[in-house]
């Protein structure tokens, strides 16, 4: 179908699209999508949780309150488990880039190599300092231990930046020239810092902090609903929830930026996101709905809404799907619903933040503790999983909205997939392993959360005195 640009013969990679079965292509997409969707949750916790842990540790040192120190140690323990799981599930992804999409890597591997090399360095630094942070809790003076944690946060954020730069390149492929199908004149820096990088990376990093914050807060919201309202649980709720509430309004602004970016650079994706079929002005904003032949059906329409959002004027022209052949349309219903759900959750979390602000403002006038009514806690408990849903929806918009392309406008997923037989079997195997890993991760984390609260690092006892290879 869409061999548009890359038709030149390049013997070293070649084409294999005609050898690919539909089932195997679907299996490869399912496997990549699934393992990415899994990793992204753990990765977000890996970026956000260290910051929360350091905040708690810092409060603990400043106030001398054991509750904060205990929190920091608890979170550090969960961090250790999540980092290990994140490290291995991330490694699988780097394997899958080649196992499932050798057509992409063979041709463009060198173009997107640089951000991955940088990501590797950042990840290395993260792993090193995490090793010290987790295992040297009682070998270092408190302030130095806190300082050792800082590189984890910085390197974690940096790796998120680099890896999303590579994904952004798939949306805005830059930094090379195609000459008879061969990739020449590669400028790896221009490839990495492509136009999609700024909105995508900022959106993703803020999302990571939101997910880690709201998910952690949700755990303590549930505990508080069950009557445990001591300093420990209140701190465990308020530290992450406040961070999440601060980030949310910025994220909504950045999300708007990311959508405007689509209008300028990937209008077809925006058309799928908003279900715009025909190019024109006075385009309504449709909420919900099902993709029909001529547009979204059964949706809630706000007249001129999309035109106003994009260009602030009702006569702003919005490009529709009619500008590209039907074979190049992303699946509209899925992308559109994912987008609407993400936006809905964003505003729900914003409302929770406003509630917190209001409670805080009231306490300033009346004094006493921040009031935490049951409804607020219940909504905050929903907020954690909801943030994860928004994360997955956002990722769906990015990835599904790019279909059928793996490199926007240049290479379709079919041209990139591994033509070897039996990818379906691989998918089942991966699903089984991930299912087991999910069960085990959740089980271990729940146990860590329920354990008796003893203020000591898990490692201090059993590592003391053991040297390192």
């Amino acid at each position: 179908m869409t061999h548009t640009v890359l038709t030149g013969p390049w013997v070293l990679v070649g084409y294999a699209a005609d050898r690919v079965s539909e089932g195997d292509l679907a299996a490869a997409r399912a496997q990549m999508g699934f393992s990415l969707a899994w990793h992204i949750i753990v990765a977000c916790l890996g970026v956000g949780l260290p910051a929360l842990t350091l905040l708690a540790e810092w409060y603990g040192i400043r106030t001398g309150s054991p509750a904060y120190r205990l929190l920091a140690r608890r979170w550090a323990r969960a961090m250790g488990v999540l980092f290990a799981v994140g490290a291995v599930s991330g490694t699988i992804l780097s394997f899958e880039m080649g196992l499932l999409w050798p057509g992409l890597m063979g041709r463009f591997g060198q173009v997107i190599g640089l951000p991955f090399a940088l990501e590797g360095i950042a990840f290395f630094i993260e792993a090193i300092f995490l090793g010290i942070y987790l295992y040297a809790w009682d070998r270092l003076p408190p302030r130095r231990h806190l300082l050792i944690g800082l590189p984890i946060v910085i390197a974690g954020t940096a790796s998120a930046f680099f890896v999303v730069c590579a994904n952004a390149w798939m949306n805005q492929p830059r930094g090379f020239t195609l000459r008879e199908g061969e990739v020449v004149d590669v400028d790896p820096w221009a490839a990495m810092l492509n136009p999609a990088s700024p909105p995508q990376t900022v959106h993703m990093i803020l999302a990571a902090f939101m997910v880690a914050s709201f998910l952690t807060a949700a755990v303590y919201a549930v505990a508080m609903l069950r009557g445990r309202r001591d300093t420990y649980h209140r701190a465990g709720f308020f530290i992450p929830f406040t961070l999440g509430a601060i980030v949310t309004p910025f994220q909504i602004v950045v999300g708007d930026w990311a959508a405007r970016f689509l209008a300028d650079y990937q209008p077809t994706k925006l058309a799928a996101v908003e279900g715009v079929y025909r190019t024109g002005s006075h385009v309504p904003l449709t909420i919900g709905g099902v993709a029909g032949d001529n547009g979204l059906k059964y949706g809630l329409e706000i007249p001129n809404g999309l035109s106003l959002l994009i260009g602030y004027r009702p006569d702003t022209v919005v490009q529709g799907l009619d500008r590209v052949p039907p074979a190049q349309h992303p699946p509209v219903t899925g992308v559109h619903w994912a987008f609407d759900l993400m936006v809905a959750v964003g505003f729900f979390l914003l409302a929770l933040g406003v509630w917190l602000l209001w409670a805080w403002w009231r306490r300033r006038r009346t004094g006493g503790e921040l009031s935490t009514p049951r409804l607020f806690l219940a909504l905050a408990a929903i907020g954690g999983p909801a943030a994860v849903v928004a994360l997955e929806c956002g990722w769906t918009v990015t990835e599904l909205g790019r279909q059928p392309w793996i490199v926007w406008g240049l290479m379709s997923v079919r041209d990139a997939v591994n033509p070897a037989p039996g990818l379906m079997t691989g998918l089942w195997l991966v699903l089984v392993v991930y299912a087991a890993m999910t069960v085990a991760t959740v089980y271990v984390l729940r146990r860590l959360a329920r354990g008796t609260p003893v203020p000591r690092a898990p490692q201090e006892e059993d590592v003391t005195g053991y040297p390192v290879v």
Binding site: I121, A136, D187
Partner: protein, 336 residues
């Protein structure tokens, strides 16, 4: 020139992965062979304490090699990953199971959980290096042609050289780990553990030697080009490896554990570089050379510069990691 530099850097990464990550897998193999829960407790504890703080950092070397290969030699990466996707998928799953189970075992308290996660950790520590070894064998014996999955997806890794590679990888990892653990046990003042691991190290070292000797016949029949390279250009490295391996066993017998560690590491490093030297300048034997597969000079120089700058940050960080725990150990000794 740049391409050779990139290849060298990648091979250094591969060597580091074999010496550090490989030993972590080997430790898992000894965990598997440590016996029942009670009987093997002391050995398992030593293994866990030795690899606990460092295995994630050691694991990064693999990611480093993968990223170097795809950035600097993209077509080779595509060819290897697509043709050998079966053993590589299995190795990837083994990596998941090993890392996750190790972390889970550390976080569990009940015996049945420790057993379950421990078994998972130990078994995958055995399987992962095996599959990675079969991949090396498939590449070294010229079974990966250029292009997307152009090679045989089954015989590409189920062949005499691959099986030799897999077996050698497992035995070598186990040997490295046993030698490293000797020194750990010795430093901990646990002579009975040091003696046990010395025995394991000698046995695994002898097995590795035997497998390598048998391998000569296998390679002669199955991978003539590799065999020719190993017996000609790479011969000094092969001899170095054998000599270092034997020296290591001698040093173990004299309880010179730290020196034995260096000798064992040299033996493994030398055999990896012998492989590299034997097939150079071919990356895919019989078809693709370093120059043909190399990325643009702009990419190679950018990646090398970035890695150079990264090393400036990484080396002191790694030093801090190892120093922190070495110092802790010293404190512990002085307080005893």
């Amino acid at each position: 020139m740049l391409a050779d530099a990139a290849l060298t850097v990648m091979w250094v990464g591969l060597t580091c992965y074999a010496l550090f990550g490989g030993a972590d897998f080997g430790a898992g193999v000894w965990d598997l062979l440590a016996g029942g829960a009670e009987h093997g407790r002391a050995r398992r504890e030593l293994i866990e304490h030795s690899i606990g703080p460092v295995w994630e950092a050691n694991h990064v070397w693999l990611i480093f090699v993968v990223v170097m290969l795809w950035s600097a030699f993209s077509p080779v990466f595509a060819a290897v990953m697509s043709t050998l996707y079966i053993p590589l998928t299995l190795a990837a799953l083994g990596i998941i199971a090993r890392g996750a189970a190790f972390a889970f075992r550390k976080a569990s308290t009940e015996l049945w959980q420790q057993r379950l996660f421990g078994a998972c950790f130990a078994l995958s520590s055995l399987l992962t290096p095996f599959f990675l070894g079969t991949v090396a064998g498939g590449v070294a014996s010229g079974r990966v042609p250029p292009g997307l999955a152009e090679g045989d997806v089954v015989t590409g890794w189920l062949n005499p050289t691959s099986l030799l590679g897999g077996l050698l990888a497992v035995v070598t990892c186990a040997h490295l780990a046993a030698v490293y653990l000797c020194a750990d046990a010795h430093r901990e003042g646990r002579p009975e553990l040091a003696a046990a691991f010395t025995r394991d190290a000698v046995v695994s070292g002898l097995v590795a030697g035997a497998v390598a000797l048998a391998g000569i016949a296998v390679l002669n029949a199955d991978a003539p080009e590799l065999f020719h390279g190993l017996t000609h250009r790479a011969l000094p490295l092969v001899i170095t490896s054998a000599a270092a391996g034997l020296t290591g066993l001698g040093l173990l017998a004299r309880k010179r554990f730290v020196a034995a560690r260096a000798a064992a590491a040299l033996a493994v490093a030398a055999i990896l570089w012998a492989w590299g030297a034997a097939q150079y300048p071919a990356l895919l034997v019989g078809s693709t050379t370093v120059t043909e597969a190399a990325a643009s000079a702009s990419v190679l120089s950018a990646v090398l510069v970035v890695l150079g700058v990264g090393a400036v940050v990484l080396v002191p960080s790694l030093w801090l990691l190892y120093a922190t725990f070495q110092r802790g150990a010293v404190d512990q000794h002085s307080s005893r």
